[in-house]
């Protein structure tokens, strides 16, 4: 059986003059945890809305299970939470989950297990309208898991929650991820994505900026932060170095971006040999946050130049 769950091909959505999502192509494979990262209004929810058949695409296509299933058949095999939890307020937690099982055509077997997982089993007979936002969001997670989904889609799952609620939800997501469920987590919170995801898709203004592993984005572009007494010598040495790319000055330090792997020990030995007296020296991994800003800004600059 193929590993491909979802494929997007040049998917585009326009709201009047505004292009919310522009020619987006993606592939979601089984067994990975994807982060869909982008600031508010970058088209994350619209993209998810389209594959979840609540938003009509303007152009482009998407395929579930390589086109072997229609959208609504495929949706029965996945679980999704979008923005706010939507349930029937007059029904209890248990009744709401039963209804979802009827729609998804799955058995009631897993309801108890999932309600216990999200800590709502004791409140199963309370009406949904009496729940706090944190409980509603947890119920939404339970609802998304009752069919043992192939893919769990989470759109801003911690939005609007208090710190304790955020902590609970993140713990839950980690638990679910460890159980081997494929997850697509959309968020504008970088640390949330960094903690959970193995793969990353970066979206801004509806355009895809990056698709690949999280490590691929952060590790390859580490940099050295250096300061030395004999500055001119340092600069000329850095500029001629084969493993270094861009050299810039940030505050009192020089920043040399790595283009190849270079260990701290080797580099410091080289500098010593060249007679450079180093006063500050450290190798840094860029945070996802700085990488994200770097990525979106350089792309934008390139776009304005063109």
């Amino acid at each position: 059986m193929s590993n491909v769950i979802l494929q997007l091909n040049n998917l585009t959505k326009k709201f009047g003059n505004l292009t919310a999502v522009s020619k987006l192509s993606l592939t979601i494979n089984k067994g990975k945890v994807y982060g869909l990262l982008g600031p508010n209004g970058s088209g994350k929810s619209t993209t998810l809305g389209m594959v979840l058949s609540v938003v009509n695409p303007t152009s482009g296509t998407f395929k579930w299970y390589e086109g072997n299933l229609t959208s609504h058949q495929a949706l029965k095999k996945i679980g999704a939470i979008i923005e706010r939890p939507n349930f029937y307020p007059y029904m209890s937690a248990l009744q709401n989950l039963k209804l979802i099982c009827k729609i998804k055509q799955c058995s009631f077997d897993k309801i108890e297990e999932q309600l216990k997982l999200v800590n709502l089993w004791d409140r199963r007979n309370s009406k949904f309208s009496t729940f706090s936002l944190g409980m509603k969001q947890r119920l939404a997670i339970a609802a998304a898991l009752v069919n043992k989904p192939d893919l769990l889609i989470l759109d801003e799952p911690t939005n609007g929650l208090d710190p304790e609620g955020i902590h609970q939800i993140r713990k839950l997501i980690l638990t679910i991820a460890r159980q081997g469920t494929t997850i697509l987590l959309a968020s504008h919170l970088l640390d949330e994505v960094e903690k959970v995801c193995s793969d990353l898709i970066v979206l801004k203004n509806g355009v895809k900026y990056y698709e690949g592993t999280l490590d691929g984005l952060t590790k390859s572009q580490g940099y050295f932060e250096i300061a030395a007494i004999n500055e001119e010598l340092l600069i000329s040495h850095l500029k001629e170095h084969s493993s270094l790319g861009k050299i810039s000055k940030e505050n009192q330090f020089y920043r040399a971006t790595l283009t190849k792997e270079l260990s701290t020990a080797d580099f410091s030995a080289e500098l010593q040999k060249a007679g450079i007296l180093v006063t500050h020296f450290s190798k840094k991994q860029p945070s996802l946050e700085s990488q994200f800003l770097f990525l979106t800004q350089t792309k934008e600059n390139a776009a304005t130049k063109n």
Partner: protein, 279 residues
């Protein structure tokens, strides 16, 4: 069947709609109360049940007309069951959970059909019982004539409810949809008035009444004509004062076709609205 179960599950666990549904079916029984109306006032001795309203086959006409008036009550349930799906955003959630838009609409239509069927069955049973008690005639062929009123009753309900379905999907808010329904009744009246006033001058060869029968609410109203002037008591009086009249009270086939075409248009329109809109 799965879709009907889903819809009934939604309605069953909503206390308000449960009360309304039971209330509606109970009200149908209330027509039996009419049989107990008895006025004794000196020399005037009036016993409604003995005025012939429960005579076969007239009872089919009378009961279907009277009970059809209760349909407004049920329209509230239909408008609410769509309006709630929009206001709770559960329509969106249903779609995400794997119900297709067509399935969503079908689940609503099946529920409507189930209620129309139950309601028609109840009218049939109540009329049989009341007729059995009060009718002056009880030969089988007489009992089972004019059953087309039951068909007209079912079509009338279905047509009205699909109109409500369309309006509530169009407008999304229950209260506004009900308001628009009332407004539409007025609009049809105004159009009729205008047509009578202007059109008959412009094109005198076209009968305004003939055109007007194609309007949805008017077509619904025409399905079962008012039964009161058909009562023998009333006709006797009319004859006495020299105003005897003949009127066609039968159910017209054309009328049923018009209403069914409207129903089809309302359902198709609902589907297009659902399909085109982003949620």
């Amino acid at each position: 069947m799965r879709l009907l179960k889903i819809e009934l599950f939604k309605l069953w666990h909503n206390r308000i709609s449960k009360i309304l549904i039971f209330g509606y079916f109970l009200l149908i029984f209330s027509i039996a109360i009419l049989s107990t109306i008895k006025i004794e006032f000196g020399p005037i001795n009036f016993y409604l049940a003995e005025q012939g309203i429960f005579n076969f086959p007239y009872i089919w006409h009378f009961n279907t007309f009277m009970i059809a008036l209760l349909k407004v009550f049920f329209a509230i349930i239909i408008v609410a069951m769509i309006g709630n799906e929009y206001s709770n955003k559960t329509l969106k959630q249903n779609l995400i959970d794997g119900l297709s838009k067509a399935e969503f609409l079908r689940s609503k239509i099946y529920a409507i059909l189930a209620f129309v069927f139950t309601s028609t069955l109840l009218v049939f049973i109540i009329s049989l019982i009341l007729g059995g008690i009060y009718s002056d005639y009880d030969e089988l062929p007489i009992i089972f004539t004019d059953l087309e009123y039951l068909v007209a009753y079912a079509v009338k309900l279905f047509g009205f409810f699909t109109f409500c379905l369309f309006l509530s999907i169009l407008i999304k808010k229950s209260a506004f949809a009900l308001g628009f329904l009332a407004l539409w009744q007025v609009i049809e009246g105004i159009i009729f008035g205008l047509m009578k006033w202007k059109l008959s001058d412009l094109i005198p060869q076209v009968s305004v009444e003939n055109l007007f029968q194609f309007f949805p609410l008017n077509a619904l109203g025409n399905l079962i004509k008012e039964p009161f002037s058909r009562l023998s008591a009333v006709q006797n009086i009319a004859d006495k004062i020299g105003e005897g009249f003949t009127k066609d009270y039968s159910v017209s086939f054309l009328n049923i076709v018009i209403v069914l075409i409207w129903s089809g248009l309302f359902i198709y329109g609902s589907y297009l609205l659902l399909k085109k809109r982003d949620l």
